[in-house]
Symmetry: C2
Subunit: 378 residues, 2 copies
Amino acid sequence: MDKLVSIIEEELNQLGALKVDAPLLHPKSLWLESGRWEKMNKELFSFEDRYHRQYCLQPTAEEMITKIFVGFGTPKRKSFPIMLYQTNHKFRDEMRPKFGLFRSREFLMNDLYTFDISKEEGLKTYTTLSELYLRVLSGILGLKVYVVEADSGEIGGSVSHEYHVLNDCSDAIIYVCEKCKKAVDNTLFLKGHKPCGSCSESFTELRSAEIAHTFQLGVEFSKKFRAVFGSDSVWMNCFGFGLGRIIAAAIDQLACEGNSIRLPLKVVPYKVAFVPPSVSTKGYNASSFAESLISQLVETEQLKDDLFVDDRTKLSVARRISSSADLGIPNIFVAGSFTARSLKTTPLIEYFYAGPREAPRKVADLTHNDLFELVKNL
Amino acid sequence: MDKLVSIIEEELNQLGALKVDAPLLHPKSLWLESGRWEKMNKELFSFEDRYHRQYCLQPTAEEMITKIFVGFGTPKRKSFPIMLYQTNHKFRDEMRPKFGLFRSREFLMNDLYTFDISKEEGLKTYTTLSELYLRVLSGILGLKVYVVEADSGEIGGSVSHEYHVLNDCSDAIIYVCEKCKKAVDNTLFLKGHKPCGSCSESFTELRSAEIAHTFQLGVEFSKKFRAVFGSDSVWMNCFGFGLGRIIAAAIDQLACEGNSIRLPLKVVPYKVAFVPPSVSTKGYNASSFAESLISQLVETEQLKDDLFVDDRTKLSVARRISSSADLGIPNIFVAGSFTARSLKTTPLIEYFYAGPREAPRKVADLTHNDLFELVKNL
């Protein structure tokens, strides 16, 4: 999860977005000002403090972040677009919490709010961020995502897009044009919207799960909170990555039979597992060979925090190879009885790879040099 | 703040502690089980969901983490000590929130819980972590801290230590032995405890603020939640860094007159500021010289995310030097009129340093080589 957060935050920082740590406790007055206290009331976790002042836990942060933006005073023209984000817990009193990380009442989200001096500039920023979203989900994480035109619901604004992955046990349904792969959500489809204007009349109904969303908020919140540039309300967009959902979706899309986890390489818990020989392995040199190898791997810059050594040497090598694969570790180096026998001539390390939707399989026998060459390029 | 979190988490990871993302919403049943629902009730933010089930927001996490520990099943002997930590928001309905980040009702904390198979092992773990706490606060951050023997209060257990910094506007009072610098808190002192057993009868009364605390919890929680190893309840300790408090204390301890922020080098927002010439600077080469320097600095590995370029070239150089210092940036490189004049012979960059409790002062004129030599060692 920390790796996923870093990937996203680095992309946002490079665009010049600023990280804030916004409060999770929101005063009721803030939500009365936007008119959403009543509107979202059933989904809000709300309560009083010891002095009977009312609060809620943030279900989303348009109000709070717009307020923070206004608190800055009037920024200079060249400071725009102004982009503020947080990586924080959100809380929604869901009617039916279910599907594990897909619909929980407390969840981790990276949410970004952008402010522009005009609609035209705002739409440019929306495009830039939409590209970033696709780059992260599809380019960096390698997930197959559908960009779905969606109903904006409670968040407001007129245009919104959701990023969906196929998921059989979810409850969302999207309609995808078979030709251009554009998609709309269920609500829009029922209102008569087609996935695409032109290319086809045949749409596939697919079961999917939302893992990110983007909204063109327009001036709805900036008007209410008097967020202006000159005499005009600023144009706002907002964007959110559902972090737990992304991990869950990735596991679901890539996992192997028998609940063995597979993950995109950028978010695996460790890139490399090393399996030293079992106590029962013959050849007394094998353990010390493995130990010297481990101490060299530990020193390798590329493996900092990314090396997992399974030293449960009472267990068989095969058992430990599947353990590593089950945890989602893709590259597994093994110094077992094969290595022990090779020590007389050229020492060789077995290399197993656990790819998406497949059991770990041996791909090569590596010399010492091969191994470090491979590690250098991970 | 992110830098402070990284420092602490890296130290904990190196000890073998595991990071968890524990829920912030705790069911009432959890707190009834420990007997603290009534005890802490006024400090708890509590509320009902739409089905009238009761929850509170975590004020501390002994209950939740012990429950998570029990959920693991029985760990092997050699897995001990087991150390679980989170970096997360805490919530306490303070009677009198005040002192900015020192007593707020929502605050960020790094809290760690350790589990040992015996009291003896537990005390060893307590010592190891106490050393880590001192290393972070005093060694890495360079703060002057007092380790204060303290009353355990609501957290429970028998022995606890707080880490205090001197702070005139705080409301805590500690009693320090003038000779050995050992200290006790107000409550213990009123109960007749002395800061040290032996060396002196004269104690100084000091006004201070708590920035971290550590507790020997013993078996209080493990008994209630049946956290056992074999037939014995495991021994628990807990430890917490108040992250906002540490930053506030550091600013307070190091700041310069006129609200100019100074911070420990490890947590400054940027290590280096670069001030290019003002538009009014004579010598047309100066800007292009500055630009080429900036592009080289950007490429420097040591300055990744640590270089701040103040390109408000309509403002004077002097004004921008103080701006950088006000933000807490210690090393300030300036290419102003002095540099412009030097370009005919040997180009020189002015180096200003803004140390703790002092205004930025010029310390050297650097050649290109001097500059990069210095940057390499930051």
